[in-house]
Symmetry: C2
Subunit: 336 residues, 2 copies
């Protein structure tokens, strides 16, 4: 069983979902959890949620907290006593196998890179979205916001890291890797995609060429690589669109009596539908390429999402994938 540090002061409703997720992960999976944050409020919340002393949960006090309004780089350099810093330190010192945070994404990436460092050979760690698809297996999309204005070499490294994550952590046998572009043909795209294509072909992964926006969630590819600007726009667009569709559907159903009855009758179908679309089933976005395990969760994560992020962090930690990244990048560099 793994030990995962949880930033208890990260999310919008911290420490409530963090404590809930920690309790669930400890009970359901037997993982040890270190809750890092204001110890008084964390302990109070633990008592409130019925913490039993035999559960493998520990509390570590942090005197500072990074908020969503903090400037990422400044918070990383300045707030050294923050719960986020302490989480990363626990991993760097070998006291935890990984950490998760639902806090300020920019600050979390900066702190992870600063304290954990990079896997040898990695130029730029990549934030990697993991999403449900039509086919059932999740797709790994990277980068979704850590790096804008990428070079082809970075895209190739993203492909390698994403492929290893899909293979070693998500257990996909031979992950198909696609390049997000604006047409299936090789010549279609921008300067970055055209220059990345030859590198991706030489990578030794199952490269399936360009994929389009519509294929993001179709299950056509198991790993999709792109510049962090494009990936972040795509990620936030998807979130916004899912919310908009849900609220439009609810409005339409609520505007008539038949609709309301219909909705009541099909409640379990909606629950099933919601679950299939729900990113919280996966829990968070791993920051691939840092030495150690760091998973960044949505600020609005509930206890279920936190629990699943802890599970993902534990699976990631036990996979040895950082060592594989190092080895495969070395082979690629020697071959190139």
């Amino acid at each position: 069983m793994a030990t995962i540090a949880v930033d208890a002061m990260g999310g919008d409703k911290a420490p409530v979902p963090e404590v809930e997720g920690a309790l669930k992960a400890a009970r359901e999976f037997g993982h040890s959890v270190v809750l890092v944050g204001d110890s008084e409020s964390v302990r109070r919340e633990l008592e409130k949620q019925g913490y039993a002393r035999d559960l493998p949960i520990e509390v570590v006090h942090a005197s500072e907290r990074i908020t969503m309004d903090d400037h990422a780089a400044k918070a990383a350099r300045g707030k050294k006593g923050s719960s986020m810093h302490l989480c990363a330190r626990l991993v760097a010192d070998g006291k935890a196998d990984g950490f998760i945070s639902a806090g300020n994404t920019g600050a979390c990436m900066a702190i992870a890179k600063m304290i954990l460092g990079k896997v040898p050979g990695v130029d730029r760690p990549a934030l990697s979205g993991v999403f449900p698809t039509m086919k059932g297996t999740p797709v790994v999309v990277l980068d979704v916001g850590a790096n804008v204005d990428c070079e082809p070499q970075m895209i190739a490294q993203f492909a390698l890291m994403g492929e290893i994550y899909s293979r070693c952590v998500l257990k996909v046998t031979r992950p198909r890797v696609g390049l997000l572009s604006i047409g299936e043909e090789e010549h279609k795209g921008n300067a970055l995609t055209r220059d990345s294509t030859p590198l991706l072909k030489d990578l030794g992964v199952e490269f399936i060429g360009n994929v389009e926006g519509r294929d993001l969630f179709s299950g056509l590819a198991d790993v999709i690589v792109c510049d962090g600007f494009v990936g972040n726009v795509a990620l936030k667009l998807s979130e916004g669109l899912v919310e908009m569709i849900r609220s439009m559907l609810r409005e339409s159903l609520e505007s008539s009596l038949a609709g309301k009855i219909g909705y009541a009758l099909s409640r379990s179908a909606y629950a099933d539908f919601k679950k299939r679309l729900d990113y919280s089933e996966i829990g968070g976005a791993p920051l691939l390429g840092v030495k150690g395990v760091c998973i960044i969760c949505h600020g609005r994560s509930d206890g279920h999402a936190i629990k699943n992020a802890i599970r993902s962090a534990a699976e990631y930690a036990s996979s040895n994938m950082n060592q594989r990244i190092e080895e495969e990048l070395r082979e690629f560099a020697q071959a190139g």
Copy 2:
């Protein structure tokens, strides 16, 4: 009433939806329609769909057809007798006020630029998606695929053209213009968005700064500008996601008897929901910046979408907006 040329050989099921849309537009709006394509099959389809001789519909024969598999630039240079070429010629010669096509988007853009030319002052015409939003008023997103690897000057021109379209054609009083980026703060984004911001501020439009992917359909902005690569990924992602959500919902509802009954009871709510999400209510994407009116429709457009595209083309043609683009670009160039 306007005269609109319709490429009758464009869409995936041509000429069926084209003929249907032409008949509807002629009947409902009184617009004259010139159907351009293989005259024999167009006439046969007109008879089949109950064409009445008093309707203002004309057929012009085209000996060639551009398919979805044709290379855009080659088809534009080579297939001079195609229905797409002839449509553009009718506009250039003043015999039609605008044209629409549901055919090969790349070829259509190339032909429109070649035959119609550009509005003086426009560097690069932009394909402009028009989408429904949560608030009801449609949003204009440009560029969605005509120009990848944009310069800041191009983004500024897109903003000006989109703002004029929103104001003059969609009748939005003071359109708010947003720049698609990955954070609300000005410094967040990539090199292109950062360099475009000062130009957008000086444009004299209601520039509201950066908007994120989640705001695309929220109604926060009336016009959203971006590089054509990002815009095209966003457009296709949205299409794919809407389809995926619909099919997941259907599957969930069909998996139980209660769900099926619920679905049957709420049928009108679903019809309303579908209509609100339906791009075909708007009809097509105008190619802004060409001298004349060109609207490009989805290859899968049905008769309803074609009808609405004819209506949009007529509204565009009667708006004098190309003259405004020319004037406002001149003012901007003199001020800059």
